[in-house]
Protein backbone atom coordinates (compact mmCIF):
# COMPACT_ATOMS: atom_id res chain seq x y z
CA UNK A 1 0.00 0.00 0.00
CA UNK A 2 1.69 3.20 -1.11
CA UNK A 3 1.53 6.48 0.76
CA UNK A 4 -0.10 9.20 -1.36
CA UNK A 5 1.34 12.73 -1.13
CA UNK A 6 -0.77 15.41 -2.79
CA UNK A 7 1.40 18.40 -3.76
CA UNK A 8 -0.95 19.86 -6.36
CA UNK A 9 -0.99 23.65 -6.20
CA UNK A 10 2.31 23.77 -4.33
CA UNK A 11 5.64 24.80 -5.78
CA UNK A 12 9.17 23.90 -4.76
CA UNK A 13 10.61 23.28 -2.30
CA UNK A 14 7.38 22.06 -0.67
CA UNK A 15 6.72 18.98 -2.86
CA UNK A 16 10.28 17.73 -2.28
CA UNK A 17 10.06 18.49 1.44
CA UNK A 18 6.75 16.61 1.73
CA UNK A 19 8.31 13.60 0.00
CA UNK A 20 11.41 13.68 2.20
CA UNK A 21 9.26 13.98 5.33
CA UNK A 22 7.36 10.87 4.22
CA UNK A 23 10.67 9.05 3.66
CA UNK A 24 11.65 9.82 7.26
CA UNK A 25 8.51 8.05 8.45
CA UNK A 26 8.78 5.13 6.05
CA UNK A 27 12.23 4.67 4.56
CA UNK A 28 11.18 1.96 2.10
CA UNK A 29 7.98 3.39 0.64
CA UNK A 30 6.38 2.99 -1.81
CA UNK A 31 5.01 6.49 -2.37
CA UNK A 32 2.68 8.10 -4.89
CA UNK A 33 3.31 11.82 -5.29
CA UNK A 34 0.77 13.94 -7.18
CA UNK A 35 2.27 17.01 -8.88
CA UNK A 36 0.77 19.55 -11.26
CA UNK A 37 3.81 21.36 -12.60
CA UNK A 38 6.88 20.16 -14.44
CA UNK A 39 9.43 21.72 -12.09
CA UNK A 40 7.98 19.77 -9.15
CA UNK A 41 7.86 16.60 -11.29
CA UNK A 42 11.55 16.93 -12.08
CA UNK A 43 12.58 17.93 -8.56
CA UNK A 44 10.69 15.16 -6.75
CA UNK A 45 11.89 12.58 -9.29
CA UNK A 46 15.48 13.77 -8.89
CA UNK A 47 15.28 13.69 -5.07
CA UNK A 48 13.86 10.16 -5.18
CA UNK A 49 16.45 8.81 -7.62
CA UNK A 50 19.27 10.38 -5.58
CA UNK A 51 18.02 8.36 -2.60
CA UNK A 52 18.01 5.06 -4.48
CA UNK A 53 14.34 4.89 -5.42
CA UNK A 54 12.95 3.84 -8.80
CA UNK A 55 10.57 6.35 -10.36
CA UNK A 56 7.71 5.92 -12.85
CA UNK A 57 5.24 8.59 -13.92
CA UNK A 58 1.63 8.40 -15.06
CA UNK A 59 -0.60 11.18 -16.38
CA UNK A 60 -3.78 11.69 -14.36
CA UNK A 61 -7.08 12.73 -15.93
CA UNK A 62 -7.06 16.18 -14.27
CA UNK A 63 -3.78 17.28 -15.86
CA UNK A 64 -1.66 16.29 -12.88
CA UNK A 65 1.01 13.60 -12.90
CA UNK A 66 1.37 10.75 -10.44
CA UNK A 67 4.97 9.85 -9.56
CA UNK A 68 5.22 6.28 -8.28
CA UNK A 69 8.32 5.89 -6.14
CA UNK A 70 9.57 2.56 -4.81
CA UNK A 71 12.80 0.85 -3.83
CA UNK A 72 14.29 -0.79 -6.92
Amino acid sequence: MSTTIDTRGLSCPQPVLMFLTAVKTDAQGPFSVLVDNDASLENVSRAARNRGFAVTTTDESDGATRIDISKS
Binding site: V16, D38, A47, N50
Partner: protein
Protein backbone atom coordinates in the same frame (compact mmCIF):
# COMPACT_ATOMS: atom_id res chain seq x y z
CA UNK B 1 1.63 17.24 -18.23
CA UNK B 2 4.14 15.56 -20.49
CA UNK B 3 6.72 13.76 -18.36
CA UNK B 4 9.12 13.63 -21.31
CA UNK B 5 12.87 14.02 -21.22
CA UNK B 6 14.01 17.60 -20.66
CA UNK B 7 17.69 17.89 -21.50
CA UNK B 8 17.91 21.33 -19.90
CA UNK B 9 16.96 19.98 -16.47
CA UNK B 10 19.80 17.44 -16.46
CA UNK B 11 23.09 18.13 -14.70
CA UNK B 12 24.68 18.90 -18.05
CA UNK B 13 21.74 21.13 -18.95
CA UNK B 14 21.86 23.29 -15.82
CA UNK B 15 25.65 23.66 -16.06
CA UNK B 16 25.44 24.62 -19.73
CA UNK B 17 22.69 27.12 -18.89
CA UNK B 18 24.84 28.73 -16.19
CA UNK B 19 27.83 28.92 -18.51
CA UNK B 20 25.75 30.57 -21.25
CA UNK B 21 24.32 33.09 -18.75
CA UNK B 22 27.79 34.02 -17.52
CA UNK B 23 29.03 34.60 -21.06
CA UNK B 24 25.94 36.57 -22.11
CA UNK B 25 26.09 38.78 -19.02
CA UNK B 26 29.72 39.71 -19.66
CA UNK B 27 28.85 40.28 -23.34
CA UNK B 28 26.23 42.84 -22.26
CA UNK B 29 28.79 44.51 -19.97
CA UNK B 30 31.25 44.73 -22.83
CA UNK B 31 28.66 46.23 -25.16
CA UNK B 32 27.33 48.97 -22.92
CA UNK B 33 25.62 47.72 -19.75
CA UNK B 34 27.02 49.08 -16.44
CA UNK B 35 29.99 47.43 -14.76
CA UNK B 36 29.29 44.01 -13.24
CA UNK B 37 25.65 44.54 -14.26
CA UNK B 38 25.24 42.54 -17.43
CA UNK B 39 22.04 41.22 -15.93
CA UNK B 40 20.60 42.48 -12.65
CA UNK B 41 16.91 41.77 -12.31
CA UNK B 42 16.33 44.20 -9.44
CA UNK B 43 18.44 47.03 -10.91
CA UNK B 44 16.78 46.61 -14.28
CA UNK B 45 13.28 46.66 -12.79
CA UNK B 46 14.34 49.78 -10.89
CA UNK B 47 15.42 51.32 -14.21
CA UNK B 48 12.06 50.35 -15.74
CA UNK B 49 10.28 52.05 -12.81
CA UNK B 50 12.35 55.15 -13.57
CA UNK B 51 11.62 55.03 -17.31
CA UNK B 52 7.91 54.98 -16.48
CA UNK B 53 8.24 57.87 -14.04
CA UNK B 54 7.38 55.81 -10.95
CA UNK B 55 10.49 57.33 -9.41
CA UNK B 56 12.45 60.33 -10.68
CA UNK B 57 16.04 59.45 -9.84
CA UNK B 58 17.53 60.85 -13.03
CA UNK B 59 20.48 58.46 -13.25
CA UNK B 60 18.50 55.21 -13.22
CA UNK B 61 15.82 55.57 -15.88
CA UNK B 62 15.81 53.14 -18.81
CA UNK B 63 13.22 50.67 -20.07
CA UNK B 64 15.56 47.67 -19.90
CA UNK B 65 14.80 45.30 -22.78
CA UNK B 66 16.46 42.39 -20.95
CA UNK B 67 13.52 42.17 -18.54
CA UNK B 68 10.97 42.14 -21.36
CA UNK B 69 13.00 39.46 -23.12
CA UNK B 70 13.30 37.31 -20.00
CA UNK B 71 9.53 37.19 -19.48
CA UNK B 72 8.72 36.75 -23.17
CA UNK B 73 11.44 34.13 -23.68
CA UNK B 74 10.07 32.09 -20.79
CA UNK B 75 6.54 32.60 -22.14
CA UNK B 76 7.62 31.29 -25.55
CA UNK B 77 9.36 28.27 -24.02
CA UNK B 78 6.35 27.49 -21.84
CA UNK B 79 4.04 27.68 -24.85
CA UNK B 80 6.35 25.56 -27.02
CA UNK B 81 6.69 22.79 -24.45
CA UNK B 82 3.11 22.72 -23.13
CA UNK B 83 4.01 24.31 -19.81
CA UNK B 84 1.94 27.49 -20.09
CA UNK B 85 -0.44 26.86 -17.18
CA UNK B 86 -2.07 29.92 -15.67
CA UNK B 87 -2.33 29.45 -11.92
CA UNK B 88 -2.53 31.70 -8.90
CA UNK B 89 -4.33 32.60 -5.71
CA UNK B 90 -1.56 31.69 -3.28
CA UNK B 91 -1.41 34.73 -0.96
CA UNK B 92 -1.04 37.35 -3.73
CA UNK B 93 -0.86 40.41 -1.47
CA UNK B 94 1.78 38.73 0.69
CA UNK B 95 3.80 38.04 -2.45
CA UNK B 96 3.40 41.67 -3.54
CA UNK B 97 4.80 42.71 -0.15
CA UNK B 98 7.69 40.25 -0.42
CA UNK B 99 8.50 41.56 -3.89
CA UNK B 100 8.62 45.13 -2.60
CA UNK B 101 10.80 44.22 0.38
CA UNK B 102 13.13 42.16 -1.81
CA UNK B 103 13.58 45.13 -4.14
CA UNK B 104 14.38 47.47 -1.27
CA UNK B 105 16.81 45.07 0.44
CA UNK B 106 18.62 44.37 -2.82
CA UNK B 107 19.00 48.09 -3.54
CA UNK B 108 20.65 48.60 -0.15
CA UNK B 109 23.30 46.11 -1.33
CA UNK B 110 22.98 47.36 -4.94
CA UNK B 111 22.19 44.15 -6.73
CA UNK B 112 20.08 41.02 -6.86
CA UNK B 113 21.58 37.51 -6.57
CA UNK B 114 22.37 37.59 -10.30
CA UNK B 115 24.47 40.69 -9.72
CA UNK B 116 26.09 39.10 -6.66
CA UNK B 117 27.47 36.52 -9.10
CA UNK B 118 28.55 39.16 -11.61
CA UNK B 119 30.11 41.41 -8.96
CA UNK B 120 32.08 38.45 -7.57
CA UNK B 121 33.13 37.56 -11.12
CA UNK B 122 34.38 41.13 -11.56
CA UNK B 123 36.48 40.95 -8.37
CA UNK B 124 34.19 43.18 -6.26
CA UNK B 125 35.04 42.23 -2.65
CA UNK B 126 31.95 44.03 -1.30
CA UNK B 127 29.91 41.31 -3.00
CA UNK B 128 31.34 38.73 -0.60
CA UNK B 129 29.28 40.41 2.12
CA UNK B 130 26.25 40.42 -0.16
CA UNK B 131 26.72 36.70 -0.83
CA UNK B 132 27.07 36.01 2.90
CA UNK B 133 23.87 37.97 3.52
CA UNK B 134 22.08 36.09 0.76
CA UNK B 135 23.11 32.73 2.24
CA UNK B 136 21.93 33.85 5.69
CA UNK B 137 18.62 35.20 4.39
CA UNK B 138 17.90 32.04 2.41
CA UNK B 139 19.08 30.02 5.44
CA UNK B 140 16.49 31.74 7.65
CA UNK B 141 13.92 30.90 4.98
CA UNK B 142 14.84 27.21 5.16
CA UNK B 143 14.21 27.28 8.92
CA UNK B 144 10.67 28.42 8.19
CA UNK B 145 10.28 25.73 5.53
CA UNK B 146 11.34 23.11 8.07
CA UNK B 147 8.66 24.52 10.39
CA UNK B 148 6.02 23.91 7.73
CA UNK B 149 5.99 27.33 6.04
CA UNK B 150 3.62 27.65 3.10
CA UNK B 151 1.82 30.52 1.41
CA UNK B 152 -0.93 28.06 0.46
CA UNK B 153 -1.89 26.20 -2.69
CA UNK B 154 -2.47 27.95 -5.98
CA UNK B 155 -5.44 27.15 -8.18
CA UNK B 156 -5.90 26.91 -11.92
CA UNK B 157 -6.73 30.34 -13.36
CA UNK B 158 -8.12 31.50 -16.68
CA UNK B 159 -5.79 31.46 -19.68
CA UNK B 160 -6.08 35.22 -20.06
CA UNK B 161 -4.72 35.83 -16.54
CA UNK B 162 -1.46 34.18 -17.54
CA UNK B 163 -1.12 36.56 -20.47
CA UNK B 164 -1.19 39.70 -18.32
CA UNK B 165 2.51 40.06 -17.47
CA UNK B 166 3.77 38.83 -20.87
CA UNK B 167 1.26 41.29 -22.38
CA UNK B 168 2.59 44.14 -20.24
CA UNK B 169 6.14 43.27 -21.30
CA UNK B 170 5.10 43.19 -24.96
CA UNK B 171 3.51 46.62 -24.52
CA UNK B 172 6.83 47.82 -23.01
CA UNK B 173 8.60 46.67 -26.17
CA UNK B 174 6.10 48.70 -28.21
CA UNK B 175 6.56 51.71 -25.90
CA UNK B 176 10.34 51.46 -26.31
CA UNK B 177 10.13 51.32 -30.09
CA UNK B 178 7.59 54.17 -30.27
CA UNK B 179 9.57 56.38 -27.87
CA UNK B 180 13.24 55.65 -28.60
CA UNK B 181 16.03 57.39 -26.77
CA UNK B 182 17.09 60.73 -28.23
CA UNK B 183 20.75 61.46 -27.54
CA UNK B 184 21.14 63.94 -24.69
CA UNK B 185 17.38 64.17 -24.03
CA UNK B 186 15.96 63.04 -20.64
CA UNK B 187 12.55 62.18 -22.10
CA UNK B 188 10.93 61.09 -25.33
CA UNK B 189 7.15 60.85 -25.34
CA UNK B 190 6.04 58.99 -22.24
CA UNK B 191 9.41 57.46 -21.40
CA UNK B 192 12.15 58.92 -19.25
CA UNK B 193 15.80 58.30 -20.08
CA UNK B 194 18.99 58.84 -18.11
CA UNK B 195 21.54 61.03 -19.84
CA UNK B 196 24.25 60.03 -17.34
CA UNK B 197 24.81 57.38 -14.70
CA UNK B 198 23.97 53.66 -14.83
CA UNK B 199 20.68 54.28 -16.63
CA UNK B 200 22.57 55.84 -19.54
CA UNK B 201 24.78 52.76 -19.89
CA UNK B 202 23.17 50.08 -21.96
CA UNK B 203 23.86 47.61 -24.72
CA UNK B 204 22.07 48.08 -28.07
CA UNK B 205 18.35 47.25 -27.95
CA UNK B 206 18.59 44.23 -30.27
CA UNK B 207 21.35 42.69 -28.18
CA UNK B 208 19.61 43.40 -24.88
CA UNK B 209 16.28 41.93 -25.89
CA UNK B 210 17.96 39.05 -27.74
CA UNK B 211 19.94 38.06 -24.65
CA UNK B 212 16.80 38.47 -22.53
CA UNK B 213 14.87 36.11 -24.81
CA UNK B 214 17.64 33.48 -24.73
CA UNK B 215 17.95 33.75 -20.94
CA UNK B 216 14.18 33.49 -20.51
CA UNK B 217 13.96 30.46 -22.77
CA UNK B 218 16.87 28.59 -21.18
CA UNK B 219 15.87 29.46 -17.62
CA UNK B 220 12.30 28.30 -18.14
CA UNK B 221 13.52 24.95 -19.47
CA UNK B 222 16.29 24.45 -16.90
CA UNK B 223 14.44 25.97 -13.85
CA UNK B 224 17.58 28.07 -13.19
CA UNK B 225 17.19 29.93 -9.87
CA UNK B 226 19.90 31.74 -7.96
CA UNK B 227 17.97 31.57 -4.67
CA UNK B 228 16.93 27.94 -5.16
CA UNK B 229 20.60 27.11 -5.74
CA UNK B 230 21.41 28.06 -2.15
CA UNK B 231 18.11 26.91 -0.65
CA UNK B 232 18.29 23.38 -2.03
CA UNK B 233 21.81 22.89 -0.68
CA UNK B 234 20.84 24.19 2.76
CA UNK B 235 17.48 22.42 2.88
CA UNK B 236 18.19 19.00 1.43
CA UNK B 237 21.80 18.96 0.23
CA UNK B 238 20.68 19.01 -3.40
CA UNK B 239 23.41 20.60 -5.55
CA UNK B 240 21.62 20.58 -8.90
CA UNK B 241 20.71 24.30 -9.10
CA UNK B 242 23.93 25.26 -7.32
CA UNK B 243 25.86 23.81 -10.26
CA UNK B 244 24.13 26.35 -12.51
CA UNK B 245 24.95 29.16 -10.06
CA UNK B 246 28.62 28.14 -9.95
CA UNK B 247 28.79 27.64 -13.72
CA UNK B 248 27.54 31.20 -14.28
CA UNK B 249 30.12 32.50 -11.81
CA UNK B 250 32.94 30.49 -13.42
CA UNK B 251 32.06 31.54 -16.97
CA UNK B 252 31.81 35.23 -16.09
CA UNK B 253 34.98 35.10 -13.98
CA UNK B 254 37.07 33.39 -16.66
CA UNK B 255 35.77 35.70 -19.36
CA UNK B 256 36.51 38.76 -17.20
CA UNK B 257 40.03 37.45 -16.58
CA UNK B 258 40.50 36.92 -20.31
CA UNK B 259 39.21 40.41 -21.11
CA UNK B 260 41.20 42.07 -18.34
CA UNK B 261 37.97 43.12 -16.62
CA UNK B 262 38.68 41.31 -13.33
CA UNK B 263 39.63 43.99 -10.76
CA UNK B 264 39.92 42.36 -7.32
CA UNK B 265 39.47 44.34 -4.12
CA UNK B 266 37.39 47.10 -2.58
CA UNK B 267 38.70 50.02 -4.63
CA UNK B 268 36.89 51.56 -7.60
CA UNK B 269 34.21 48.92 -7.87
CA UNK B 270 31.39 49.98 -10.19
CA UNK B 271 28.03 50.76 -8.58
CA UNK B 272 28.95 49.44 -5.15
CA UNK B 273 28.51 50.97 -1.72
CA UNK B 274 31.19 50.68 0.96
CA UNK B 275 29.22 49.85 4.14
CA UNK B 276 29.62 46.10 4.47
CA UNK B 277 27.30 45.63 7.43
CA UNK B 278 24.46 46.94 5.29
CA UNK B 279 25.68 45.10 2.20
CA UNK B 280 25.23 42.00 4.34
CA UNK B 281 21.93 42.94 6.00
CA UNK B 282 20.36 44.24 2.80
CA UNK B 283 20.86 40.84 1.24
CA UNK B 284 19.70 39.00 4.39
CA UNK B 285 16.38 40.82 3.96
CA UNK B 286 16.22 40.29 0.21
CA UNK B 287 17.33 36.66 0.46
CA UNK B 288 14.64 35.86 3.02
CA UNK B 289 11.99 37.56 0.87
CA UNK B 290 13.09 35.57 -2.20
CA UNK B 291 13.09 32.33 -0.20
CA UNK B 292 9.60 32.86 1.23
CA UNK B 293 8.28 33.76 -2.23
CA UNK B 294 9.84 30.63 -3.74
CA UNK B 295 12.29 32.06 -6.23
CA UNK B 296 14.92 34.64 -7.05
CA UNK B 297 13.72 37.69 -8.99
CA UNK B 298 14.71 36.06 -12.27
CA UNK B 299 12.83 32.87 -11.48
CA UNK B 300 9.77 34.97 -10.59
CA UNK B 301 9.89 36.50 -14.08
CA UNK B 302 10.25 33.07 -15.69
CA UNK B 303 7.37 31.60 -13.68
CA UNK B 304 5.27 34.64 -14.60
CA UNK B 305 6.04 33.79 -18.23
CA UNK B 306 4.62 30.31 -17.57
CA UNK B 307 1.36 31.94 -16.46
CA UNK B 308 1.99 32.00 -12.71
CA UNK B 309 -0.14 34.92 -11.49
CA UNK B 310 1.51 34.87 -8.06
CA UNK B 311 4.99 35.26 -9.53
CA UNK B 312 3.67 38.11 -11.67
CA UNK B 313 2.33 39.82 -8.55
CA UNK B 314 5.77 39.43 -6.92
CA UNK B 315 7.39 41.00 -10.00
CA UNK B 316 5.02 43.97 -9.90
CA UNK B 317 5.69 44.33 -6.16
CA UNK B 318 9.39 44.34 -6.96
CA UNK B 319 8.99 47.21 -9.44
CA UNK B 320 6.95 49.19 -6.90
CA UNK B 321 9.50 48.45 -4.16
CA UNK B 322 12.39 49.70 -6.26
CA UNK B 323 10.44 52.89 -7.04
CA UNK B 324 9.78 53.45 -3.33
CA UNK B 325 13.46 52.77 -2.61
CA UNK B 326 14.41 55.79 -4.70
CA UNK B 327 11.46 58.01 -3.77
CA UNK B 328 12.05 57.55 -0.02
CA UNK B 329 15.85 57.52 0.15
CA UNK B 330 16.14 53.80 0.89
CA UNK B 331 18.46 52.82 -1.96
CA UNK B 332 22.21 53.01 -1.57
CA UNK B 333 24.59 54.88 -3.83
CA UNK B 334 28.38 54.64 -4.19
CA UNK B 335 28.51 57.24 -1.36
CA UNK B 336 26.84 54.82 1.06
CA UNK B 337 23.48 53.67 2.37
CA UNK B 338 20.51 55.96 1.72
CA UNK B 339 19.22 58.09 4.63
CA UNK B 340 16.42 55.63 5.43
CA UNK B 341 18.02 52.48 4.02
CA UNK B 342 18.95 51.02 7.39
CA UNK B 343 15.48 51.47 8.86
CA UNK B 344 13.86 50.01 5.75
CA UNK B 345 16.21 47.00 5.77
CA UNK B 346 15.43 46.17 9.38
CA UNK B 347 11.71 46.83 8.99
CA UNK B 348 11.64 44.65 5.89
CA UNK B 349 13.48 41.88 7.71
CA UNK B 350 10.99 42.10 10.58
CA UNK B 351 8.04 41.89 8.18
CA UNK B 352 9.58 38.88 6.41
CA UNK B 353 10.10 37.10 9.73
CA UNK B 354 6.45 37.76 10.61
CA UNK B 355 5.36 36.46 7.19
CA UNK B 356 7.47 33.36 7.77
CA UNK B 357 6.29 32.74 11.31
CA UNK B 358 2.58 33.33 10.77
CA UNK B 359 2.48 31.09 7.69
CA UNK B 360 4.02 28.11 9.46
CA UNK B 361 2.00 25.15 10.63
CA UNK B 362 3.71 25.62 13.97
CA UNK B 363 3.41 29.41 13.85
CA UNK B 364 0.57 31.55 15.12
Amino acid sequence: MKPGFNVFSTTTGIIATGLVFGVLAVLLQQTGNPGNMGICVVCFNRDIAGALGLHRAAIVQYLRPEIMGMVLGAFGAALAFGEFKPRGGSAPITRFLLGGIAGIGALVFLGCPWRVILRLAGGDAFALFGLAGLVCGVGIGTVFFRMGFSLGRSQVQSKISGLVLPGIMLSFVALYLLNPQVAGQPQNGVLFYSVKGPGAQHAPFILSIGVGLIVGFLAQRSRFCTMGALRDVLLFKQWHLALGFMAMLCAALLLNLYLGAFKPGFENQPIAQPDNLWNFLGMVTAGLAFALAGGCPGRQLFMAGEGDNDAAVFAVGLIVGTALAHNFGLASSPAGVGPHGMAATLAGLGVCICVGFFNCKRGA
